[in-house]
Symmetry: C2
């Protein structure tokens, strides 16, 4: 193999910096020399065959390195990571260097065939797959152990020698993107394809979902407005609204799967084969042989993990949920006490006291959420999942359940224990609107202020009136390395998930929720866009084919909302009046309707295909071709082996 990669000249003249590596101050020279050598080394010698240059600032050497790669190296890397690109005949195919001429827009001198985000993803992949050969430790750091096949970058990160790796912004591209995304004041679709080219599929898919979800809420909002305007209180109108909501929420979730398939087919990630996933950085265990790859790596008994999950994590989560319910009950007691106090001695102080329980409860919930988040992260990490994806799923599940309870338990209590519809509507409106305002502040105003302060500080340091685009590379790197890191889309999806809960769980009580949700999401698009472009470091692109566990979460929420809405309608006095003689008939009718609605939901989810027909056809065609190719290949091989 050494020969086949040898022609890649690492000393290409037009070095384009793509990724920044920041090492800890005071890292030993010996370590740096070894690490950079491994990065530059030929593929055949076990290196990454990338280009690396130190960033020299006016203060001298700051242990910051720029990584790039030759055009040819990137193309071969695209093949290794299995990128899927569009061909000249408009079909999507896995890119291979040998068939490069058949791909759309490919030319040997066209350096834009791969987007910058793709190049950075390739470099990240190559760096992470740089593996120890026979080193027993990181040179200069005997405590940082290595074994054959261990990812060097991951060990450097866990032992604190490597501070961060991040991709550089492209000031020109970013400016264009900003302009088309939120620069112009116009109503229209977001430039999803441009977002995908710049930020990668995971983030583009989040914005796609946000946009789709906003459009999908519009019918609900439009139908909800007359309920507010004309103050409709007829039960039959509420029943109609709730029924429409329930079926509609099923439809939009099913249709999203189809739209998601269209998007990710166009972006190539629907067809992309997942690489074999490496153990996540925090995974530890006794050195052993991985039964799948046959490589030496830490192994950890699955039974032990199951025991930790079911004997520790599960009881802990249940305890937290119980505690959260307990706190809620205290809040209701306090609320009652404040009300009684206000009734007894009516004064300014007592009417102020009315707000105290809510404020205390809001603060306590926020604190609990944060503590629980840390605990969940600690526990999930302690469960020692081998794969990042399974770590994420377990973490998301834990956090989701707790957040769901904290947000909605009080509403459930008001609705189904206190039976106070007026209070429910009021609480729902308060919770929805305050959470939206808080979020908008935290995501839009705060970032704007941060950006302003940041610009000022930067100007002070650079002492010039340059605009962003004119910044030198050194200034750009120094500026970006101080920016916050955008971790993942979790919080953004969580916000949408809770919003979906407010809109659908009690839709027949407060039809206006959808209107607020739509208004919020329109500004949300802009504030999130601002956040991505201005506030945070550029994140590495991450290929993905769907929104993963969130699809399941939204679908579960829509099943729960069938139950809650049916109960709410059954409890309304108008429906009550229809069954003057027998309350049992009422309850049975409601239960019957609920079961029918659930059945319709499941049948609809089953009947609507997850992928549009043309995507299905394209996928079938691709599979047919690969089967045919395999058959052809096997026949040739068989013939050859017989002729020997």
């Amino acid at each position: 193999m050494a020969e086949s990669w040898s022609f890649l000249d690492t000393a290409e003249c037009n070095f384009r910096p793509l990724v920044v590596i920041e090492l800890a101050k005071g890292t030993k020279e010996e370590t740096i020399a070894w690490f950079t050598k491994r990065i530059v080394d030929k593929k055949g010698d076990g290196g990454a065959q990338l280009l690396i240059k130190p960033l020299v600032t006016e203060n001298g050497h700051e242990n910051i390195y720029l990584v790039g790669a030759s055009h040819l190296r990137l193309l071969l890397g695209a093949e290794t990571v299995g990128l899927v690109k569009e061909c000249n005949d408009n079909s999507m195919r896995t890119f291979t260097y040998s068939s490069r001429k058949t791909f759309k827009d490919f030319a040997d001198d066209n350096h834009n065939f791969l987007t910058m985000a793709e190049c950075q993803y390739i470099i990240k992949h190559e760096l992470e797959n740089l593996r120890a050969k026979n080193e027993k430790m990181i040179p200069g750091y005997p405590q940082a152990k290595l074994y054959p096949g261990k990812s060097i970058v991951r060990r450097l990160l866990t032992s604190g020698i490597l501070i961060q790796i991040f991709p550089l912004h492209d000031r020109e591209e970013l400016k264009k993107l900003r302009h088309s995304w939120y620069g112009r004041v116009k109503i229209g679709y977001q430039p999803l394809d441009d977002i995908r080219c710049y930020f990668g599929e995971t983030i583009a898919l989040y914005f796609g979902f946000l946009e789709y979800f906003t459009f999908a809420l519009i019918p609900m909002a439009v139908i909800g407005i007359p309920y507010y305007v004309f103050a409709w209180e007829d039960y039959d109108k509420y029943v109609m609204f709730a029924t429409f909501n329930l079926l509609w929420s099923t439809v939009i979730l099913e249709v999203w799967k189809r739209i998601c398939a269209i998007l990710t087919y166009r972006w190539g990630t629907l067809l992309m084969k997942r690489q074999f996933e490496e153990p996540r950085p925090g995974f530890h265990g006794v050195l052993g042989i991985n039964p799948v790859t046959g490589r030496e790596e830490p192994v950890y008994s699955s039974l032990k993990r199951q025991l930790r999950i079911y004997l520790v994590s599960l009881p802990f989560v249940c305890l937290c949920l119980y505690f959260s319910l307990y706190v809620m009950m205290i809040y209701f007691d306090l609320e009652q006490w404040a009300l009684d106090y206000h009734k007894e001695n009516e004064s300014d102080f007592s009417s102020l006291m009315l707000y105290v329980p809510s404020i205390i409860y809001a603060v306590v919930i926020e604190v609990m959420n944060r503590i629980y988040r840390y605990a969940a992260e600690f526990l999930t990490s302690w469960e020692n999942h081998r794969l990042e994806s399974s770590y994420q799923n377990h973490l998301i599940l834990k956090v989701l359940v707790f957040n769901f309870l904290n947000c909605f338990a009080s509403l459930f209590y008001i609705a189904f224990v206190l039976f106070d519809m007026k209070l429910l509507r009021q609480s729902l409106a308060t919770l929805l609107i305050t959470s939206q305002i808080l979020n908008q502040f935290a995501e839009s105003l705060l970032p704007y202020w941060l950006q302003k302060r940041h610009n000022k500080r930067m100007k002070k340091r650079v002492c010039s009136q340059k605009t962003d685009a004119d910044l030198s590379l050194v200034e750009q790197v120094n500026m970006e390395k101080e920016m916050g890191t955008y971790l993942d889309t979790f919080d953004d999806y969580l916000e949408l998930f809770l919003q979906f809960g407010y809109v659908s769980l009690f839709s027949c009580v407060y039809p206006l929720a959808a209107v607020f949700a739509v208004l919020n999401n329109i500004t949300e698009i802009y504030s999130d866009a601002l956040k991505m472009c201005r506030v945070y470091k550029r994140p590495f692109a991450e290929p993905t084919a769907n929104i993963g566990v969130w699809q399941l979460a939204f679908e579960t929420m829509s099943v729960i909302s069938v139950v809650t809405n049916c109960m709410l309608i059954g409890m309304s006095p108008q429906v009550d009046a229809l069954f003057p003689d027998s309350k049992i008939d009422l309850v049975l009718t409601v239960a019957l309707v609920e079961h029918l609605l659930l059945a319709v939901k499941f049948i609809m989810a089953f009947v609507i295909p997850d992928k549009p027909r043309d995507i299905q056809m394209k996928l079938a065609k691709l599979e047919f071709e690969s089967l045919e190719a395999l058959k052809q290949q096997q026949m040739t091989l068989a013939a050859e082996s017989l002729e020997e």
Copy 2:
């Protein structure tokens, strides 16, 4: 390609007949000559490269042909159909001729490497894939049109020239199988691997499911017996029994998926890539280009099919269901009338009259079932599905819904409209036991009698005292071609499905149902085995990885049974007595318990992995290896293309 297949000598000396082709009497010589030539022709010339011999009987030529193939041809065919076999290192891999030495038990002179069922499957596949080249019609039959790529055998079948193709029994093997399967009187597992070798995976999986299901019912039966013996009527015992039943039925269905994965992994079908499915024989349409394969074949608009399904089939099915309910109501009226009549004039005649409605109803249901089955087949055929699998799914769904209603509607009516638990228990017992006796008769006694008659007739014709094993080939073929054709496992699964319904839907009313089901299934295994070995033609082996739509059907049944059992328990007088003041509390409690049980069911189904861990690991290992191989191959190709 012509060269690579040319070394296959079609004139091999040891011709082993595997498959029988029966042509219509009076088929033109020209047609026969063309058809046999196409079968014998070299692969490179578009033939199937098989061996074919006419069967010459004492009456001369009867248009019956025997098809076989050389050992080498079969091995190459195994590669084409993608058979998965066990390797020397105990892993399962797709068989390729070039890597044949690495497979367990492979030797160039070992003609048992492929089982006879596999050989027959390969020959069937090759025959069905014999395609027209530039023939415009079948020679001698201008009305039987052909077009390039059309399967010749399918056209011959639809135009009535080809009467049947069926695989031959292997008298020796069959004797051994019969002995180990049901010959000895011993309690133990069935020889599933031998059944699979002889009859293929679909049938072996049915027997595997039947056996598993019988074992899974034993705990229910054991718990059910004391209820009968001690005449327990306490509601808490019934609640316990029902709860156990509900959770147990979820567990057994989930565990079956795992066992199914273990079986089909061992048999290789779990890993087998499905070939691109050909249009089913009855499919018709305008000649066009298939967008997936690019081949010329009939195409039919998917929209038209959807319209036919939703505008004709769906209303028709609903109408039939309504009609069936209507007939049921008439039955109940008749029943009431007979009861009144008996009360008024008590006589022998009147007490005989009591049975008349039930008998009429049973006959009417049987007639309706049969008419409906024809109508469903006609409609599904008229819907013009391109694929056999989608035809089957639509047919199964239609028949399933109707059968479900016919079997259980009267029970539902008795339980939830008449509220008559005693009558329910009585009807349930009557229905279960009579349906089991009828089935046992139709599947065990009738076949036995058929076999006796068949033996006699055969003996008369052969006029000798030979045993089965000594029969000449001519006699064997003549005997087997007259045997009935085993269509598919549909009726067998349907019987189990309805039985599962009797056991689980009203389990808390009649705990003894499981006992009867277990007893029935034990004899069912023997009678079904007898049927397969003695009554029917040998069926072609059909690779399959799971029980398909039946898994879904059983799961749906277990969800419905949660609802029915909760309702039944809620209606019992003992539970009623617990809520003396408020019936609403009772209904709400029942509804709450039901929702909790459903939630537990879904969570359990979600948490229990569908495949055991070691199978998951093996699959992951295989996928990892294929990805690695692909990467390696691409690197080599890239290097080669650069060096050019």
